[in-house]
Homo-oligomer: 186 residues x 2
DNA sequence: ACCTGAACACCGTTCAAGT
DNA sequence: ACCTGAACACCGTTCAAGT
């Protein structure tokens, strides 16, 4: 378990990806309090200080996790079915990302810098889609984004309970239908 | 600054209310990280350990703060103007509570026990009001509550910037109008 | 009842020393 | 470049001792 003092053999060191994976697992298991630089290092069989060679900070760690989770939400969102269907796809994919790791989402809220980066792109795309169906596209953009965030955080209270998570997810989709019913199908 | 070792003279000790006030101030200034039992004690000119005579825990402290903030949201909500106006009043008061201390709201999300207590009453009342205007009252209850939470958290990114907070507040009211326009004015 | 002081088991992060 | 070990300035909380 104890490693030699110097530079590890090629391929024996910790990867940045391995760090991110382990960090996300800790966050999912025990929330923000469960993810400490020390617990993370322990899980990787490494000294806490070695993490700082791959990550700037705890804040930088959260930012990297956020980028990885939200980075490809926009992938696969197309407008083939019209703008309303595009919006539905986008919001569903966004919510699904939150569902996968609500604890990460919560942690990111406390780290505004991490949050802003990943969500900017998503927000802009959503605004563009909404502009095609309503003049009040900015208001509706905020409604949809805020609703997704609020719904995502509701998942934290349902920690681990698979049935409740499923019910909340259904409720989200239903709410989304309800909201999108405002707009004419173009 | 240094106090005597024994029981303080009557009226010289720290009050539970003084503790809660100082804790809220710290939370507003520097967020969750700014509120430590030690910084709180320092601000009150007291040893950290003396706090435990008035509060069970750090968690208990947050719960008490939550009860105080959300405890009287329902006060002054009447149905004189019909159910839709009642809903508008309730949601506005709820959002205003979040606006006053978004950092507390965020901290509470991480402490599900604290959250549940205060919000249960509010959620129930909202559901009852909605039942008068739509059969889908449970769906709409979740939409409105989640939207309020998401909007409240958006305030954290606008930290301190009074103009932005004002703009977000206006956006919330506009969104609420937009959402409530669904329902017939009874 | 209500405070202090010392202590325990934690944190994140820096810095110098190793290979 | 990438790891270790020791150290610094923090945490929350417990426990015994004071009045």
């Amino acid at each position: 378990m104890t490693r030699p003092r110097g530079r590890p053999a090629r391929g024996q060191g910790v990867t940045r990806d391995a760090i991110l994976d382990a960090a996300l697992a800790l966050l999912d298991e025990d929330g923000d309090a469960g993810l400490t630089m020390r617990s993370l290092a322990a899980r990787l069989g490494v000294t806490p200080m070695s993490l700082y060679h791959h990550v700037t900070d705890r804040a930088g760690l959260l930012r990297a996790l956020s980028d990885r989770l939200y980075g490809d939400v926009l992938q696969g969102v197309d407008e083939a079915g019209g703008p309303v269907e595009g919006i539905r796809m986008l919001m569903t994919r966004y919510y699904d990302a939150v569902v996968m790791h609500p604890q990460l989402t919560l942690a990111i809220f406390a780290e505004p810098a991490a949050f802003a980066g990943a969500s900017l792109e998503i927000t802009e795309r959503l605004g563009a889609l909404l502009a095609a169906v309503t003049p009040a596209h900015l208001v509706w953009r905020d409604i949809l984004v805020d609703h997704a965030h609020g719904s995502g955080l509701a998942l934290i209270a349902a920690r681990g309970d698979v049935a409740r998570v499923g019910a909340l997810r259904d409720a989200y989709r239903q709410a989304l239908d309800c909201l999108l019913a405002q707009f004419p199908v173009v």
